[in-house]
Amino acid sequence: MNLTLDQITHRYSGMPVLQEISLEIPAGEILCIVGPSGCGKSTLLRLIGGLEKPDEGQVLQLGTPPEGCLNPLTYVFQDFALLPWRTVGGNISLVLEDHGIKGRAADAIIDDVLARTKLSDFRKALPRQLSGGMKQRVAIARALAVNPAVMLLDEPLSALDAQTRELLMDDLLALWTRAPFTAVYVTHNLNEAVRLGHRIAVLSRRPGRVREVVEIDIPLAERHAGLARLDEVQAHLWGLMRDEAMAADQELLDV
């Protein structure tokens, strides 16, 4: 299933936040979105996932979601959004219950996704007993459980420390290599963007427009820290972003 964003413009109380955004999200690819703070990245993700309606333009779904897909557009949130009163297993079964998947069938799915995110031993743990990295892995496991056509990740690693982030990035890469998924990945971190993104869309400061879409033709599995080409792209991205970020910062000071 492919997604197409067609000329999306969105305003909050008259103030444009996103302007004429057009992007392609082909199946099996990770599209990273970077941009200065407040340029509307989270808003764009909410529009893509149907949590909000764009003022103008539309988000189009091309083709049907694959067989067995319970929730085509599935989010992974920056702050994990786990129910504190449910165990790890319970948090995953939450999203299965409404599809009538209970008992054995649910257990099988839960075991599978927990194994894929290396959490099998923590099925009965409560969120407060987990570290930040583990909580985000639970959230990823929960997203995998509904077999999404497109994963929408809003700064999924931003709440984590640098080491945990590195490890989770490897986990995401491994997950993708085993079974390629489609994803829109919003981040502040250019290093994450060049490691995970097949394509990287750079947004300008508010109102967000697409400044450039950078394509990286190195397979995800072959990307690792210190690769010259990645550093090059990262420097290019930073060049694009720096002026925007500085200008955005200035704007906030002027308010």
Binding site: L51, Y75, A81, R86
Partner: protein, 274 residues
């Protein structure tokens, strides 16, 4: 050869531990302290009444109150009073609390319920319910129903207020999460909103039920032969301080018991908070 001291820094000053200034602001469960406070207070009053610096019209002697309580229990008349009182409290507050939670959740979820009912609740809340007792007697008769109604109304308003506050405080990102996974409206309410509001609802219940106990006495002012409230009021009318205080002690004990039960419910239902 010098140590790595910064220029100008005085050397060889005495080493002192950094003063501790953390801690506090986190009350812990201290066993027996509550009981100690009661015991000390009672001993002081006992001493005062015996020594004479508390007049016997100011406060009754705790030991006399104890004896009165003992007589009451031994003669079996305690249950004559306690039974009706407890059933009134149970029925009345059950009615008030369940409707209060239902209305509170509705206010928390629906714009029209909020717009329409919040002012109404705010208008009902400050009315002294005791003042409405004659009205209830006309509506429901002098028997039990008017007492149930009074207690129900009295527990209803604080329950509504605390419930919709608790629903408002449920983490919106959790609700967004539920929507993003396509959960049904009912699933979001029952699996996300209600459990998230439960801590607030339970702590609101403490206030509601205490008000219920206060109104129990008020309800028994009119046309009740039996009941702790009736017992206290009769004693008060006769200036029988021992019996008055015996009744007050029983009310306090009911209050402590109710609060303990809620504490128990919190421990069991909110284990996830750790």
């Amino acid at each position: 050869m010098s140590d790595a001291t910064l220029p100008g820094e005085p050397r060889a000053t005495a080493a002192r531990p950094v003063p501790f200034r953390g801690g506090g602001f986190r009350p812990e469960a201290k066993r027996g302290v509550g009981l100690m406070v009661f015991v000390v207070l009672l001993l002081v009053i006992e001493w005062g009444t015996r020594a004479g610096w508390i007049g016997n019209l100011t406060l009754p002697r705790p030991s006399d109150v104890g004896a009165t309580l003992w007589d009451l229990a031994a003669s079996g008349r305690l249950w004559e009073h306690l039974g009706p009182s407890l059933s009134r409290l149970a029925v009345g507050s059950l009615l008030g609390v369940t409707t209060g939670i239902a209305v509170g959740v509705a206010i928390g979820l629906f714009s029209y319920a909020r717009a329409g009912l919040v002012p109404l609740v705010a208008a009902i809340f400050p009315i002294p319910k005791i003042a409405l007792l004659p009205l209830f007697v006309i509506w429901f008769g002098i028997d039990e129903p008017s007492k149930y109604a009074l207690i129900a109304l009295g527990t209803f308003t604080p329950t509504v207020t605390s419930t919709y506050g608790a629903v408002d405080n449920v983490d919106r990102t959790l609700i967004r999460m539920g929507q993003s996974f396509g959960l049904s409206w009912w699933s979001i309410v029952s699996k996300i909103v209600l459990p998230g509001a439960l801590p607030g609802i339970l702590s609101g219940l403490r206030v509601s039920l205490a008000i219920g106990i206060i109104l129990l006495v008020a309800a028994e002012m009119l046309g009740a032969e039996y009941g702790i409230g009736a017992y206290v009021l009769q004693a008060g009318a006769l200036y029988d301080l021992e019996r008055l205080f015996a009744g007050v002690v029983i009310l306090s004990v009911i209050g402590v018991l109710v609060s303990w039960l809620i504490g128990l419910a919190e421990k069991r239902l909110l284990r996830w908070r750790g």
